[in-house]
C-alpha cells in the first residue's frame, strides 16, 4: 500500500532528505523554514540511515560544511530563507567553481534586508542569475506543492550529481508552511563507500590510495588561459543542462489567447484565476515553469506566436517578467502583476489585472 502523510512543505524536505539517501544536512534556524532542521533533529536519522545532521553557527558555516561534504562525494544539503541564502552566496560560487554537487533549499520570505517572515518570491534574480560572484548558474527547481517539496529533494540530488553543479529548490513561505498530503513512494538508501568510489573516484576527496593521483577540490586557477578553459567547460555543461532539463507544466494552454506565467505558490493562485476566466468564457491558460534555470524560453517564444499577450504573476516587483520579455522579444505585450513585502494576491485580482491588459 502507498504511504501517504499529511505534512508541511518544510517537513516534506526533511523526510525527503532522509529517504533520498542524503548523507548530511547542515542548517541554521530562520523563519519560515526552521521546521526542516527541527524535523530532522526530532527524527534522529543518524540512528537509522546514518545521515549526519548538524546545526551550524551560521549560514556561512552551513554552506561551507556542504562544500566539505560535497567534496567527499556525499549527498549533502542545506536549507534557509532569503537573508540566509544571501550569506551563502560566496559558498555557492565556490561550489559551482569547484564543480561540486549539492542541494540548497530557499523557503523565501519578503525583503529587502530583514524584511518580513511572510512569503515572497523576490529571490528569483538571486537564484537564477547566479547568486554569488563569477559566471555560473545553478539548476533552480520551483515546487508548487508539498509533494514537489518532497520529490524535488530526490530530483535535486539526481541533477546535482548528473552535472556536478549546485541545485537550488526555490520554494517560499506558503509552500513551506502549508499542509498537504504527500505520497511517499520514492525512497532509496545512502550510497555505500564502494558506490561513491565507483562514481566519484576521479574527483572526490576521500583519501588518496596508491592507485590514483591525488584529488583536489578547488575553484582556484591563477593561469588565465586555463581559467578561461575551465569557464568554457562550465558554460558547455550549462548548455547541456539547457538542452536536457527544462521542465514546465501547462494548464488550458492549447487554445489560450492570454497566457499567465507563474511559478511556485503563485502558479497555484494563477491556476484558480484560469478556472475563473474559463468560467467566464475567456480563453486563458497557464504556463508554470518548474525549472527556473534552465528557463522554458523556447516554449514561451512559441506561445508568443499564438497568444495576444502574457501576464506574469509573481510575488515581487517584476523579476521573472524580464526573462519572459526576452523570450517574447516584443511580439506581444507582456505585463507584470505582483505584490511585495509578504502580501499575496487572490485569483480575482490576477484575473482583474489580466482583463485590464486585454482591454488596454
Amino acid at each position: 500500500m502507498q504511504e501517504v502523510k499529511l505534512i508541511k512543505g518544510n517537513e516534506a524536505v526533511a523526510l525527503g532528505a532522509i529517504r533520498s539517501g542524503c548523507d548530511g544536512y547542515f542548517g541554521y534556524p530562520i523563519t519560515p523554514q526552521s521546521e526542516v532542521l527541527e524535523t530532522l533533529m526530532e527524527l534522529r536519522p543518524w540512528e537509522t540511515t546514518g545521515m549526519v545532521v548538524l546545526q551550524a553557527e551560521s549560514e556561512v558555516a552551513s554552506i561551507n560544511m556542504v562544500y566539505g561534504g560535497a567534496a567527499c562525494g556525499k549527498r549533502v544539503m542545506t536549507s534557509s530563507s532569503s537573508p540566509g541564502i544571501s550569506l551563502m552566496a560566496e559558498g555557492i560560487s565556490y561550489l559551482a567553481g569547484a564543480e561540486l554537487p549539492c542541494l540548497i533549499v530557499n523557503v523565501q520570505r519578503g525583503g529587502p534586508g530583514l524584511g518580513t517572515i511572510q512569503p515572497s518570491q523576490a529571490d528569483y534574480f538571486q537564484a537564477v542569475k547566479g547568486c554569488g560572484h563569477g559566471d555560473y548558474n545553478m539548476i533552480v527547481l520551483a515546487p508548487a506543492s508539498v509533494q514537489e517539496m518532497y520529490d524535488f529533494v530526490f530530483d535535486g540530488f539526481d541533477l546535482a550529481f548528473k552535472y556536478r553543479v549546485p541545485v537550488m529548490m526555490l520554494s517560499d513561505g506558503i509552500i513551506g508552511q502549508m499542509m498537504e498530503k504527500v505520497v511517499m513512494s520514492r525512497s532509496r538508501a545512502r550510497w555505500t563507500a564502494e558506490e561513491i568510489k565507483q562514481m566519484s573516484d576521479s574527483w572526490a576527496t576521500v583519501g588518496k590510495p596508491q592507485t590514483r593521483a591525488r584529488n583536489i577540490c578547488s575553484s582556484l586557477e591563477l593561469d588565465s588561459q586555463i581559467m578561461e578553459q575551465r569557464n568554457l567547460a562550465l558554460q558547455a555543461r550549462y548548455e547541456e543542462i539547457k538542452k536536457n532539463e527544462v521542465r514546465f507544466e501547462e494548464i488550458e494552454i492549447d487554445d489560450a489567447e492570454y497566457v499567465i506565467v507563474a511559478f511556485g505558490s503563485s502558479a497555484r493562485i494563477a491556476s484558480e484565476a484560469v478556472s475563473l476566466a474559463r468560467a467566464e468564457g475567456l480563453k486563458v491558460g497557464l504556463l508554470r515553469p518548474i525549472t527556473l534555470w534552465p528557463f522554458p524560453s523556447a516554449r514561451i517564444a512559441e506561445l508568443a506566436g499564438q497568444a495576444k499577450g502574457f501576464l506574469v504573476a509573481e510575488l515581487n516587483a517584476g523579476q521573472m517578467v524580464e526573462d519572459i520579455r526576452l523570450a517574447v522579444d516584443g511580439r506581444v505585450p507582456v505585463i507584470h502583476f505582483g505584490r511585495m513585502g509578504g502580501m499575496i494576491y487572490s485569483p480575482d485580482e490576477i484575473l482583474k489585472a489580466l482583463k485590464e491588459q486585454s482591454n488596454g
Partner: protein
C-alpha cells in the same frame, strides 16, 4: 653511514612558490613527514586556506579541499563527520583563521570536532601584500598600519590559541616554531600528537606555529628570524597551552 634526513615521499616534485626563508615550506615538510610516518596517506584529507598556503595541495601528495577564506574549519567539520575514520586537518594562516574565519574556528573548537588545526601565525597578511592582521604586534609597520599598529586605532593583537584552550571541545593546544632544528623537532612532535588525536577522536587539536614572513616584514630571512625571536616570542609564548597527551584527557 646513518641517514639523518630523507625527503618525505609525500612531498611532490613541484617547486614551492614560497619566498626563501618562509616558514610555510618547513611546516609543509613536517606535515608530509608525519602523515607518511603514520601511514595515513590514503586516510588523510587536508583543507587548505586562502592565504600564501592556498597551494598546499600542490606540495603534499594527499587529497585536498581548497576552502573559502576563513571557512576551513567548517569544511573540515563536514568532512570528518561524514568520514569519521579519516584523519582531517586544516592548514590556515592568521588572517584566515583569526580574522575572517574566527566564527568557524571558535565553533568547530567548541563542538569538539575531531580535526587537527595547523595555524601558521606570521602576524601579517602575507598573500595580499603585507597588510595588518589581528595578530600584528603593536608598533609593527604593515601596509595598512604604515606608522605602526596603534591600539587606539586598530585594537590589540590577540592570542586565539589561549582563547580556544578554554573551550571544552578542544583537547590539545600548543604554540611552536620552526626557526631552528630543535624547534622543528618539537613542532613535528606537536603535529603528530594533533593527528593522533584526530584519529583517536579525542576532540579538536590546535597547533599554532609562530612563523616568519620576511617579505611581509620587509626583512632578510636571517633578520626575520631574529626579529621573530626578539619580538614575537615574548608575546606569543612557545609551549603547550593545553595538554594533549592521552593520559591528560
Amino acid at each position: 653511514m646513518d641517514k639523518v634526513y630523507s625527503r618525505s615521499a609525500l612531498l611532490t616534485d613541484n617547486v614551492m612558490h614560497y619566498c626563501p626563508g618562509c616558514s610555510h615550506g618547513t611546516i609543509h615538510k613536517l606535515v608530509a613527514e608525519v602523515i607518511e610516518e603514520m601511514g595515513l596517506q590514503a586516510d588523510t584529507i587536508g583543507v587548505s586556506p586562502v592565504g600564501c598556503s592556498v597551494f598546499a595541495y600542490n606540495y603534499i601528495d594527499i587529497d585536498w579541499i581548497q576552502a573559502a577564506h576563513g571557512r576551513a574549519c567548517a569544511v573540515a567539520t563536514a568532512v570528518k563527520r561524514l568520514t569519521p575514520e579519516k584523519m582531517v586537518f586544516t592548514y590556515q594562516g592568521d588572517g584566515d583563521l583569526s580574522a575572517i574565519g574566527t566564527a568557524e574556528t571558535i565553533h568547530a573548537c567548541n563542538r569538539g570536532e575531531n580535526i587537527a588545526v595547523i595555524y601558521v601565525n606570521n602576524a601579517i597578511y602575507g598573500m595580499t601584500g603585507g597588510q595588518m592582521a589581528p595578530t600584528t604586534l603593536l608598533g609593527m609597520k604593515t601596509a595598512t598600519s604604515p606608522q605602526g599598529r596603534e591600539a587606539a586605532i586598530h585594537g590589540y593583537p590577540y592570542k586565539i590559541a589561549e582563547m580556544v584552550s578554554h573551550l571544552d571541545g578542544v583537547c590539545y593546544v600548543t604554540r611552536q616554531s620552526v626557526q631552528s632544528p630543535a624547534a622543528v623537532r618539537k613542532a613535528k612532535k606537536a603535529i603528530r600528537q594533533a593527528f593522533e588525536n584526530s584519529m583517536a577522536g579525542r576532540g579538536l587539536s590546535f597547533v599554532e606555529i609562530v612563523s616568519s614572513c620576511n617579505s611581509g616584514w620587509k626583512l632578510s630571512p636571517v633578520e626575520a628570524n631574529r626579529w621573530m625571536e626578539e619580538s614575537m616570542f615574548p608575546f606569543y609564548k612557545l609551549g603547550d597551552i593545553k595538554a594533549g597527551t592521552p593520559a591528560a584527557i
